[in-house]
Subunit: 404 residues, 4 copies
């Protein structure tokens, strides 16, 4: 294996697992390792990752630490929310949507430093390996991809810790025992999977959650909030204009405080098995309700129904890791065009775990109070309904006559 790879860009969190990978790459390939650590809003300090990389012999110029929060929300989260994307009816795709950005930045760094390989710390049974690697290949078709979890023999917790000790990789005390579940976090969500959660009949413990109080602990009085939209994206909260990341951060605070955004589901992985995941997406859970609210006023029916019919496909593409696939881009082009008129303000009630639209208004509203009224109006002649119904019924009448 030595000589196979010259320089590899590793998606590096600074944690135990990716530190082991870092050393393993050095060992196995005798290659130069470049670390890339991103702030996607996961809520961890990044500087310790730099120190740890330095300690493990990474050259300073080979350590990349980037704050990608604004890019994440602006170019990934928001475009996805324009589509009202829900995987399998309920999941807001919080992990899925972060992967393509990491891939993209890793490949940019690889191009910049002249690396011939990239590596990630995702395991061999999950979706994330697919998402990372489809991103790598789509952006740099000749890249070498190293997925240590599919290659090495460190297949048990004991072996991993042995390797760490042998190579003097510091092990945090709480990493000695096994975590009761694995997590992934970014500005949109945090996920919990595996171990204690594997039995889908057993309810998650309340102390697992980190981004929201339980509905029971949330305030007894509802919180009202107004979100303003332009071209399908949220741009202001209660009148205050905010950058994408700042806005999502604010929504996370609002949602978390009101017990909003917990989800417990069994989902179908792209690799062919079902798994059980628990998610917290406080801000996103508010945002999707608000977005549907503003669309209800501003989208034409034909636009709205077309979007609804394509949404499951779109969500599946993101879940499966096809963010950079031509068909995801094609659907996005359509969604973005349709979103041009989606603007206005939605008023929401947040209360102990639930989000409800209680008001919406828009300068481009297609709702016209004067046509809905039961009184006469200038546009709608009630007698037109008869012809409308009769021609819609015609084919069914003919079918009944012919078929009995």
């Amino acid at each position: 294996m030595k000589g196979e790879v010259k320089k590899v860009v590793l998606a590096y969190s600074g944690g135990l697992d990716t530190s082991i990978i870092l050393r393993w790459l050095q060992d196995q390939y005798g290659c130069e390792v470049v670390t890339f650590t991103a702030d996607l809003g996961q809520g961890e300090e990044l500087e310790p990752a730099r120190q740890k990389a330095l300690l493990m012999g990474i050259k300073p110029e080979n350590i990349f630490i980037d704050d990608l929060r604004e890019e994440f929300v602006r170019d990934f989260v928001f475009p996805m929310f324009r589509a009202n994307a829900l995987y399998e009816g309920v999941y807001l795709l919080g992990t899925s949507i972060a992967r393509p950005l990491i891939s993209k930045r890793q490949i940019e760094i690889a191009n910049q430093v002249g690396a011939d390989a990239v590596a990630h710390g995702a395991t061999g049974k999950g979706n994330d390996q697919v998402r990372f690697e489809l991103g790598y290949y789509a952006l740099k078709p000749d890249i070498k991809v190293i997925a240590p979890w599919r290659l090495w023999d460190l297949t048990s917790r004991t072996r991993l810790l042995d390797f760490a000790e042998k190579h003097q990789i510091p092990i945090a005390k709480d990493k000695r025992g096994e975590a009761p579940y694995s997590t992934d976090a970014n500005l949109l969500h945090i996920s919990y999977e595996g171990k204690a959660l594997e039995d889908p009949w057993v309810e998650p413990f309340d102390d697992m959650f980190t981004r929201s109080v339980s509905p029971e602990q949330a305030p007894d009085k509802a919180t009202y909030v107004e979100i303003e939209f332009e071209k399908g994206d949220a741009v202001a909260i209660d009148g205050e204009r905010l950058s994408p990341a700042a806005l999502l951060t604010r929504l996370n605070a609002l949602g978390g405080a009101n017990g909003i955004g917990r989800l417990d589901l069994v989902e179908n992985r792209f690799v062919g098995m079902k798994s059980r995941g628990v998610y917290e997406t406080p801000g996103g859970s508010i945002l999707i309700v608000a977005h549907r609210g503003i669309e209800s006023l501003t989208l034409d029916r034909g636009e709205a129904h077309l979007k609804d019919e394509l949404m499951p496909r779109y969500a599946e593409l993101i879940y499966n890791g096809f963010w950079f696939a031509p068909e995801r881009i094609a659907i996005q082009t359509m969604i973005d065009q349709v979103s041009e008129n989606v603007c206005g303000t939605v008023r929401l009630k947040l209360y102990k775990g639930s989000v409800s639209v209680v008001g919406r208004k828009s300068p481009k509203s297609l709702y016209r109070m004067d046509y809905v009224t039961f009184e006469e109006d200038s546009v709608y002649d009630q007698r037109d309904a008869q012809g409308f119904i009769k021609l819609n019924a015609l084919r069914m009448r003919l079918a009944k006559m012919a078929r009995g």
Copy 2:
């Protein structure tokens, strides 16, 4: 117009509006009127309708009063819930799904009594006229359809009341003034529309709701409930087997007590305008969450995603009144086939307006704890993931190479 119609079956509630229609039909067409009053779980006594019909000169043998609650839930509500149908992402179609049953029964009665016409009391701007009439025409292509609201000149409240007084139709005191909104109710839901609700920026008053307490008034402690499914339908609650209507009634009680099922939305009517509706669907709001929960365990991914992609179309068909259309039946056939394996139990937490799945189990579960584990297993070889990813990536690599 006299002589045009010999005998007409009127969908008759016993209320003021349909009583006026009854008299108007007698006047205009000089025809025999047959009244049909159905118990769909709207929560009103039906015997007064019989008395009122008798008073207005309807022969006893021309008065039909049917309890259709079981048929309604078994043959209309449950098949629709197998599809997870939500119109425009949120609406559970509570009004839409009742109309075809009324149409069907009206036509059955027309066939039985030899009527040549049917009549309904839906207005000329709404969806219900379409739903009723598409049903009539689909089941009896040569039926005459009378929609008084599109025909007569009683186009204001004053004129209606004048007509009632002139014809000695009793007017309940609370009908003198105008209702602040119009409602429609059945075992699945109650709707509120029009008047006070016409401004979509204004939140509905809390005292409007009749089927649920507000989340704020709901118990401070969560209620847990287990729902058992067979072939995609709910069959038992907390171990007690219940008929379809009894089961939905029980869920309504549970939902209503926990502040569940209120919905405020702007929707796109089939007749081309947007309208604002407010709904209470306590039991249905629990049922759809539970149904998705049991499907998550028992449907194959291909089945689940196919259903998700067809759902918006299916919901649109029901919303638009095409229950008896061949393509609705075709999609239903597919959904029913797929539902054959949907069985097991879902555990839910109900709390102050929200419903959450907290557990699910099934004798036909496709979820396998032994394959999800991070340990080795007999079915999944982690090295397979590499080939899987590489072949999925191939077309994107070729596209990047060719297009740059």
Copy 3:
């Protein structure tokens, strides 16, 4: 009716029917009539229409005669062919695609001359009335629309001729008797409907056709032709660059000479009945085959399949008259984006009624001879197929295990 309309723009062919309409409008409404006659490549002189209009008292400044052939092909036919649109699997939508352009131009003229109404000569049972009027309303919501065929009492051939004679409208000799079928023509196609064609079991007579020789009469030797594409549109034939209309004209000549483009079908009209139509689309029948040929080389699989799945919907929208609907525009946006890379040359064999692709090449080809070969290559590792298959199979294995 007098006074209801001040000035009306009539889609005027100069033929007997629209001349009768012209006079009827003057009579009925006492209004100013503006005539609009378009050259869409139907193959008729337009100047006689001007003379006839003048004779009937239309002011010179109220006579509009436009050559719209280039706009027709560039902005309507070509965008539609980018989608490979076929209604009900076979029909190239030759009539449907011309209607929105006529509507658009009529409304432009109405705006220019300050007309408050438009009128057309389509009958009350067909699709064309819908296509015209949806166009009018979409572009000018407050326009008055006059459809004489749905309004007047000239409901038989005899009455029409009587009206013409009474008003001294000249009647061409061949119009005295009834035509054996009705036709509609433009640069894309000619259609035949009604009368002699109404029995769908009876084959059309060969002498009906006007744009193509019969396959039997076509040359005994195949014609080969090369069509070059850019961004999804044909731009050159056998190396000669041609304008859109010139190119389609050339293809019509090639197709017509080789017996290509005749179609006999029973189709589902938007107004609810089936009808039998016979069409000649010589150039279009070549173009769609060529376009699929160039896409086969240059579209990514995901793009191609997405287009294929949306195509029936797109074709239905055009057939039903929704060219200006927001959802048609949304789908078009997607199709146009995907078409950016569709370029290259297709070689076709034309022979006695059939068109076959026999070669295709492109500077942006995604087909790579070096990867298809059975030999080893650098991109594809055959062992990857095992993992690919095993993970694709996993869910089916689990289903079989659980369901038996």
Copy 4:
């Protein structure tokens, strides 16, 4: 590897390649080999395969030779044609549809003889390996699958021939040199791929084709044929009732004699690359046109359009090898239900490569001459069209008013 497998069922043609595989399996695994040879209408004698198997030491009871032609057409080809399945708009899936039947029978034999493995001779770059193996796994989740082409080192023609000579496997003279392309044949079609066909700009030589004369060589006079359908399947030709396989055989003769069914295309393989294939499908090319013809008369518009929208997905599933996947079965259930009313007779003209419907009739026809006529009728009131159009236009008018 020895000991890994006890008994393997090999899909065995009797040709050189699968004979080498037979020996290689014996060598590598030291296991018992069971051969399975199917008559799918490929047009080869099967008895030589038996002799060859015996010569290579296969026990008589381990040699399975089955005539599957009727099952093939009845249970695979006909259900697929009910869907009008065309992959990428043109390909009739002749190879794809045969693979699941071979898989199914192989697994039946494996169950019967107690084999723990199956093997096939498909290469590592194609679709067929996927189709075979998805079938195996779907039907017997714990089966071992051996794909020698992905495993062995016989990766060149020379090595293969060396292996054959070394093991005294007889080599037919014409197999010494390399075939100019590879073929696959069954009752539905024959395919040609690879080698001489790899450049998609080069037209195939006419002498390659084996099932059809060239259009140029076909008769100068058209052949007319009538095909009768019941429940969506062809059941008789020119009044003569035929079994499924006999009927397709007859259509092949008719098509082949008239130069019908040749197709040259570039397609997207499931494994991620494009390839060029040339196909002859004489009978199938007639059948699909005839089937659409009878559907045009007997399917309701809603049914027909639903089928059209799902068809690309359905075709993709078959192409990719998912015949036994739950979602293919689900769509099939729907298609079969819709096909219940598809009956009647279609009249076709076959002439020098083209197939045209020239007549169709059905006892369940939804086409009604009496409603299509321009005269008055009892079902259709032309004034209804106005209301129909106006309500269909309403949302577009509102959109124009709001958006300008």
